[in-house]
């Protein structure tokens, strides 16, 4: 797969590969809209989950710090957006201002969580992060009194969509004979951000910082003895992971137009963690695949479980909702039995060392 996109070693094949992928990504929403408009929305949600999974992968996959409260950063990003772009405070800042603010706020919360947990590992860290996630959600639920900040369990409604000048991401538009619905416009925006996020993740992993994260994951004592400031490098992992969550939260807010604390429950954290583990911790492509699978599979089952039963038994024996979770859990168990390291395990990165071979006699 990498050979297909290696512009240096094989430029022609690489550019053809990139072009094919670009055309496929561009055409995808129209194909999905042909099946049903819901599928474009489902795809957008799936891409948001990819953002979350990639952000969590920095903390769990690269640095090896088990985080069970990751959804809290998503919540922080979402609420920052909602508060700064809704009638709630009557603020309507443009999205390109709010998204960085959301990322910075989530980053701050990441450091807030990271600082007291620096000496914790494994189960202990998991418990503290789990608590942190719940604290954030409960705060959001209760910060409606004495001053109404979050509007409590009712959540915040009428959140502004993305808007550039008079171009709104919410309305339908016909350009060059093609009908661009709101979700389709968001889809293109999300895909652009997604490409940027993937590039950032791959570059981070293959850098001095990424190696320091992996060193901490492998052996913290040895990492310290090699001169790595484990405190700073761990905080950096928390901060980077949280920032990705914050950006994703902001986009979630705008796309949904409504958020409440209910969207940020513990199960969501576990879901994102399952995506990372299922796909392959530490492998960017594996994590993306895991996130897409776990986001699409429940939806696919939702639409197929009923009809299949009627075709086979002539009537509906089990409610789709019930059997969906059953199959989902069963699939997870099978995955962990047969591919415990994930679908795409973190692969050894071969280095070509061409510069050295060229220099050697």
């Amino acid at each position: 797969m990498n050979a297909l996109f290696d512009t240096r070693a094989n430029p022609r094949l690489a550019w053809v590969g990139i072009l094919v992928v670009a055309i496929a990504l561009a055409a995808l929403p129209f194909a999905l809209a042909g099946i049903g408009t819901a599928w474009v929305r489902i795809t957008n949600t799936a891409i948001l989950y990819v953002f979350l999974a990639l952000g969590l992968n920095i903390v769990v996959g690269f640095a090896g710090l088990l985080d069970l409260g990751y959804i809290a950063f998503y919540a922080v990003g979402a609420y920052v957006y909602a508060l700064l772009a809704s009638p709630h405070f009557n603020l309507h800042l443009p999205f390109w201002v709010i998204l960085p603010i959301g990322a910075a706020t989530a980053c701050l919360f990441g450091v807030l969580l990271g600082t007291p947990t620096l000496k914790l590992r494994g189960d202990y860290l998991a418990i503290v992060t789990l608590g942190f996630g719940e604290i954030i959600r409960i705060f959001l639920n209760n910060l409606s009194q004495p001053v109404n900040i979050t509007n409590g369990p009712q959540g915040i409604t009428l959140i502004d969509p993305f808007q550039i000048g008079s171009f709104s991401f919410k309305t339908n538009e016909t350009i060059a004979g093609l009908s661009f619905s709101g979700p389709i416009k968001y889809y293109y925006f999300l895909v652009l951000v997604l490409i940027a996020v993937i590039v950032v993740n791959l570059r981070l992993q293959n850098s001095r910082i990424g190696r320091a994260w992996e060193a901490i994951r492998e052996d913290e004592v040895a990492a310290r003895a090699m001169g790595i400031n484990t405190r700073n490098v761990k905080l950096l992992a928390f901060a980077m992971g949280a920032s990705f969550g914050g950006i994703a939260g902001g986009m979630f807010s705008a796309i949904q137009g409504f958020i409440s604390p209910e969207s940020f429950i513990l199960v969501e954290s576990i879901n994102v963690l399952a995506m990372v583990v299922l796909g392959g911790m530490g492998n960017v492509w594996g994590v993306i695949l895991g996130a897409l699978l776990l986001s699409f599979m429940p939806e696919v089952l939702r639409y197929t479980v009923g009809p299949i039963q009627e075709r086979v038994f002539g009537r509906m024996l089990l409610e789709p909702e019930v059997i969906r979770m059953l199959l989902f859990g069963f699939a997870l168990v099978l995955m962990m039995l047969f591919r415990p390291a994930g679908i795409l395990p973190s692969a050894l990165r071969k280095r070509e060392l061409e510069s050295i071979r060229a220099a050697a006699p």
């Binding site: 492998e218 004592v221 040895a222 310290r224 003895a225 090699m226 001169g227 400031n229 280095r351």
Partner: protein
């Protein structure tokens, strides 16, 4: 710059009721190979851990390269120029041999998150310099053929050598090796001796904990003997070998005679 690279003064460390180190003092000169020997549990590894900042000594101080080491964290000690290996090999097992050594370059390089994301010319140049240097070091210790293998898949002797390469990557002034020959056969040990001599010739001072007496006696300029956390002898290898207290510590003195009697 004085002739002394490291001097220890009155180093004391207790763990609960166990006196791991009591009032240990020694000096290591620049460019020598200094051996640290003693029976199991004598406090050799504890001394390493105190020296590299993993533990804080209860009393005493180290002067390294003409400045005190007091209160420094392990990563700061590494930055000052002391690199170590571990008695029970602690490589980054799931990373390649090359990446292990590249991580050793961390402390001498500077790329930040921003640099890593934008990957400008300076970051790219630094990355390729890291990779080139790591490869050179792998060749230096003789595991360059396994550069792309996972560290955990390397043979035992190669893992020991890889750990030395990783330590050398931090550009240490003092290389502290904790039983590098443990588990090696005679041929591997001979190769290790040549490696240690090369490292010294290339200007790095070595502090060596070792149980292989043949290696210690052939390679060390001076030897310090610890027993129950106390220094019982110090001097050139040949002289220490004849010291009665050292022989008693190793053979158990009268206990040995009793055993012979039964």
């Amino acid at each position: 710059m004085t002739d002394t690279l490291l001097s220890a003064e009155g180093i004391t460390k207790r763990f609960g009721g166990v006196q791991a180190l009591s009032d240990v003092a020694f000096t290591i000169r620049r460019g020598e190979i200094y051996g640290l020997i003693g029976p199991n549990g004598a406090g050799k590894t504890s001394l390493f851990n105190v020296l590299t900042g993993i533990y804080e000594p209860d009393a005493g101080a180290f002067i390294f390269d003409d400045a005190p080491l007091a209160g420094l964290k392990p990563h700061q000690v590494a930055e000052r120029g002391i690199a170590r290996t571990f008695q029970n090999i602690r490589l980054f097992a799931n990373l390649s041999a090359l990446e292990n050594v590249m991580i050793g370059r961390h402390v001498r390089t500077h790329a930040t998150v921003v640099g890593a994301i934008f990957r400008g010319p300076r970051t790219r140049a630094e990355e390729s310099a890291i990779e080139r240097r790591a490869y050179e070091l792998l060749a230096y210790v003789g595991v360059d053929k396994r550069a792309n293998d996972l560290a955990k898949h390397l043979a035992y002797g190669d893992q020991r050598r890889l750990e030395i390469a990783r330590a050398l990557a931090t550009e240490p002034k003092l290389l502290a090796l904790d039983e590098p020959a443990a588990g090696m056969n005679a041929t591997e040990t001979a190769g290790l001796r040549r490696l240690l001599e090369n490292i010294r010739t290339d200007g790095t001072t070595i502090l060596l904990i070792e149980h292989d007496m043949k290696l210690v006696m052939s390679v060390c300029d001076r030897v310090c003997v610890l027993d129950y956390g106390k220094k019982i002898a110090e001097g050139p290898a040949a002289q220490v070998q004849k010291d009665e207290r050292v022989i008693a510590a190793y053979l158990g003195g009268e206990v040995t005679l009793n055993l012979k009697g039964t």
